[in-house]
Symmetry: C2
């Protein structure tokens, strides 16, 4: 077999970073540059900046009016106004300089123009009245900005007023980014079997840019040792830092670590972090080179843990602190002592408690990065965190946004996407956050006070009714007042390839094909199990019964790809993927809720959207839905 890098020497995150940064601090000089003040927004000062000029530059009028000699106005009074002749005053606008013999300004409002050029005043002017003395705002040689200060728009204004036109700041560093892999293609290239669309380098570009550094993407390199070596070497001579994406793992064509060993020195290969283990921290000459893993989530987590502090150090930039909240964990998290783990979580405020619900933990689950409201860290010395425990969550959304979010946990349907889009569009500060765990798990979350609503579609075999019976059963003794927000009637059935090649028409046909199942607790799974039982079919007769998938769309995707022949799901999913659909029956998809939460402004917004003609039109277009009772409230308990 081809050579693999099986033996990563795994070390703790903090130790890895410290080891690497100490080498960098020793070998890499922090660069500065002098730039025009007018281009300095967001840059960081190297040393203290002192004013060069006074501001104002001279004694100046603080009001529109006339400048006079105060000493010559002492006689003026209401009874005996004083007349000033042309030679005894000068008209000034705010900001005009005041020269000797003048030493006071009288406001325009207090002047009476009499004959041509003659002005009457009715009270004496005080010396220095309405005059801004030289340097009132800024005194030359006064400190304007300290060192290590990030320059803001108002700083630019004051620097210029104080006569500073150039300023020394830390240099923006130039970061080269390589994507590697023979199977990797650009997003606009033709997809072939085995193709993977390159996207990590574009995420890195964004992250580097957000840090105020300059990203230089170098395109995609094939898995060719000599090519990678030569290109990386070239980049190390030209840029301040190099990122090599993927090829950092133990696969047969993972050359990065070998290349870096040949070109320079590898200080760390393998860190106790999940996702992200196979990170490489190296130096080629005096240029730091970081090898990041290929899975998007691993790539992101490793960037944040290793590249971010490195760029901050090299630019001396001041990282803004992430907002951190204390939240209650809704689900037990088990982790290994082998690594520090970063778990993406949804965060919502329910019943005055902030609740964190873990998302998919796989390193490949890039959508979990997009859907995450924050990250919860399980330290390396923790084996896990129990449900209900308090955890610290580093937020990627604002607390304000989280407090205005309807938290939905339960069954999945495409109409949730429509709702999630329409709510913030109509109610600018409000959001819908939904986790797809199936109907039963949704009701349990509702019972624990972790969600505002639970979308469910659960048939009661005895009464033949949907949803109401199960809520009564589950919440009957809880003392909670429960309601149902009516959702849609929808069609369930078998999603099969175009043309239905396996001729699936009834439940018994699934034993003839490769099936994909939904997870335990999903309403669709309940229905499927009910149908099997009713027709006397054992689960062992179904090829693929154990293959569980979490959403209707994922079932449709597997059918479309040809990996399976059939799966149960809703008609809209089959339609979206242009597949055939064999209806089994109608069901009701509604939202269980505690009655007092109906009064929340974001829940009200949710209901208003449900009732709107625009929403219902969009849903009917998806196919397989009826909207007759959308948004109606049914009291249950």
């Amino acid at each position: 077999m081809a050579k693999r890098n099986l033996y990563l020497n795994v070390i703790p995150v903090e130790e890895a970073l410290e080891r690497y940064l100490s080498v960098i601090k020793e070998r890499v000089a922090i660069k500065t540059e002098t730039i025009p003040v007018i281009r300095s927004l967001g840059r960081v000062t190297v040393s203290a900046i002192y004013a060069k000029y006074n501001s104002p530059l001279y004694n100046s009028a603080a009001m529109d009016g006339i400048a006079v000699s105060a000493g010559k106005t002492t006689e003026a009074s209401d009874v005996k106004p004083l007349v000033l002749h042309k030679s005894e005053y000068v008209i000034v606008d705010t900001g005009d300089p005041i020269h000797e013999p003048y030493d006071a300004v009288i406001m325009a409002e207090n002047l009476i123009e009499t004959a041509d050029g003659e002005i009457q005043i009715t009270e004496p002017a005080m010396s220095w009245q309405h005059i801004r003395p030289v340097g009132e705002d800024i005194v030359a040689h006064e400190l304007i900005l300290t060192s290590n200060h990030k320059i803001r728009p108002m700083d630019i204004g004051v620097l210029l007023s104080a006569g500073i036109t150039e300023i020394e700041v830390y240099k923006q560093i130039n970061v080269a980014i390589f994507a590697t892999g023979t199977e990797i293609i650009e997003p606009d290239q033709n997809i072939e079997d085995g193709s993977i669309i390159e996207s990590n380098s574009r995420m890195f570009e964004g992250l580097v840019t957000e840090q105020g550094a300059k990203a230089h993407r170098q395109g995609i390199l094939k898995d060719d040792y000599a090519l990678i070596r030569d290109k990386v070497k070239e980049a190390c001579d030209k840029y301040d830092m190099v990122i090599v994406n993927a090829g950092s793992s133990a696969g047969t064509e993972d050359f990065t670590v070998h290349v870096l060993r040949e070109l320079g020195e590898v200080f760390v290969h393998g860190v106790a972090i999940k996702p992200g283990k196979p990170v490489i921290l190296a130096m080629v000459g005096n240029t730091p080179v970081v090898g990041l893993p290929g899975y998007p989530v691993s790539a992101y987590i490793c960037y944040q843990n290793f590249v971010r502090p490195l760029i901050n150090y090299l630019q001396n930039s001041l990282d803004s602190n992430k907002e951190i909240v204390e939240a209650y964990l809704s689900k037990r998290l088990v982790s290994s002592l082998k690594h520090k783990e970063y778990v993406r979580v949804k965060v919502g405020k329910v019943e005055d408690k902030i609740i964190a619900t873990p998302l998919a933990r796989g390193a490949g689950a890039a959508m979990s990065l997009v859907r995450a409201d924050g990250f919860c860290v399980i330290e390396q010395n923790q084996e896990g965190i129990e449900a209900g425990e308090k955890v610290r969550v580093e937020l990627c959304r604002s607390v304000d946004e989280i407090e205005n979010t309807v938290v939905s946990i339960g069954s999945h349907d495409l109409i949730l996407d429509v709702l999630a889009d329409m709510i913030p569009n109509k109610f600018s500060k409000m959001h819908l956050s939904s986790s797809h765990v199936g109907s039963m798990a949704g009701l349990m979350a509702l019972k624990r006070g972790e969600a505002h609503i639970a979308p469910i579609h659960l048939l009661d075999e005895e009464t033949g009714s949907y949803n109401i019976a199960i809520i009564k059963k589950l919440f009957g003794n809880s003392g909670k007042h429960m309601a149902l927000i009516k959702g849609v009637k929808r069609v369930q059935g078998f999603i099969v390839p175009k043309g239905n090649p396996k001729h699936i028409t009834e439940i018994s046909d699934v034993t003839k094909c490769r099936y994909v199942n939904r997870q335990v607790g999903a309403g669709t799974r309940v229905l499927f199990d009910y149908l099997l039982k009713k027709n006397g079919i054992a689960s062992s007769e179904v090829n693929g019964y154990d293959k569980e998938i979490a959403t209707h769309m994922a079932v449709a995707a597997l059918v479309q790809s040809g990996s399976v022949d059939c799966g149960m799901g809703i008609e809209s999913a089959a339609r979206a993927m242009d597949l055939n659909f064999v209806p089994v029956g109608h069901e009701e998809y509604d939202f269980a809720i505690e009655e007092h939460n109906l009064a929340l402004p974001h829940v009200k917004a949710f209901i208003e959207i449900l009732k709107s003609a625009e929403f219902q039109e969009k849903v009917l277009q998806l196919g397989g839905y009826e909207c007759t009772h959308c948004g109606e409230i049914v009291q249950v308990l």
Copy 2:
């Protein structure tokens, strides 16, 4: 006299903005554009984005290893390992596609290579094991981003993976910025009498850029009606919005409102806001034009209140909420019912209370914008706020930073600038914030628990000692344990022009010249009054006794400008401005502190800097200082 715009029609802030926005909403269409996803960082989506492709694109290996048919491995066991021949497996790296007949992956770690091309396994593979099914991460037609979503680096990654390469976003608007005024010069031009350095437009450039719009500075226009009219007209045809800076007031050459009336329609001229009253909100054709006042603070406040919401509307951008804290006001603020007032404040945390201390309130005090930690709003219907009352402060620094700041209120000395620069430089998260109110006012603030330290230099006439006696007198009955952090010995005297043309050598000489005084409560004022009394000189004999200025440097600036002949101050200020200095005597400049605050980490940092050789070297270079006891602690009470 020339024409003035004396009659501004002043209306409340909210009404002004509403009136203007309602016109804009009626007449200006919000623009969108389609751009490449790879250039979309920070832009805002117009509509919901759904995935085009699945990710992964096919069933793929989730591990490095071999792909097998699970059904053919059922016999494998520890006791009887199964040997797989070359034709029965294929080597796969993570991400490689899995094709029929293979339906499972066995990890590299669990393989034993025997003969060439033969592999032993010791347990059966489960169907689908270590395979990422097609669409596991992203399912085609699934919602990726809602509308009104600000695009982040991870979003770009997922969009590309999902086959999206172009995206519709709200257009960045183009904002033209004019500076007007015959007296206005560019920062690099020669300064002449009456010159004002143009800086507001550069501040606007920064503010516009921070909002994600594009700033187009048009340079400086002379006060020429026809010129301003033609240039503004031209810009209105070319850009999405125009800002005209200054000329919005009632001065003789304030043409802006007349120009805008000729070119289009003026909806608001004059708003009940302080600073900022003479703002103009207008339209020329369908282009919004805002006239902003010339004083930097007015310009800034009006930008935030009128331009910011306007740009947000035109770009549909999501403004991040400012951080707001509740603070106790340290000083009574009086305001008029005529306007809503924005007061710049320093904010510090002392004794577990957040304290807000008002800064200079003048519209021209641009440095107060730089020095501000936040803004406190006095609503139009409030006549003021009492000291000790709770106020809401909109922060411009982070709470974290504020909690690590030493709050100093008291006398001014140049060494405070050196300290303010060195502390964050040596202790990255720590800061010094100082307000200059004079020694006595500093001690009173300390007594009220509004400061950590009070820099003072107060002579006790009876004992001839500095600082200790006055602390004993003021805090003797307070029950507080007080200490003194020793600062510097410094020389006080008369600051006079180069060559000392008025031959000032002793206190009685000040009656012969134009003097500038320090404010009541300043240590230097105490000293001056003491000297007058001792020498039997009446204050009325001093020309300029009532002209009060707040810092040594401001005194030096007035002397340098020739506006006054003499003022009392410290030697370092005279030296910084290259002036002559007539010493009067030594005094001790120390820091009063409550003893328990000595334990605070930021106060410890402050003391460490005071004791450092680097600090003392810098101070000695300023001139007029002795550092013998710098940083020593003296217990007082």
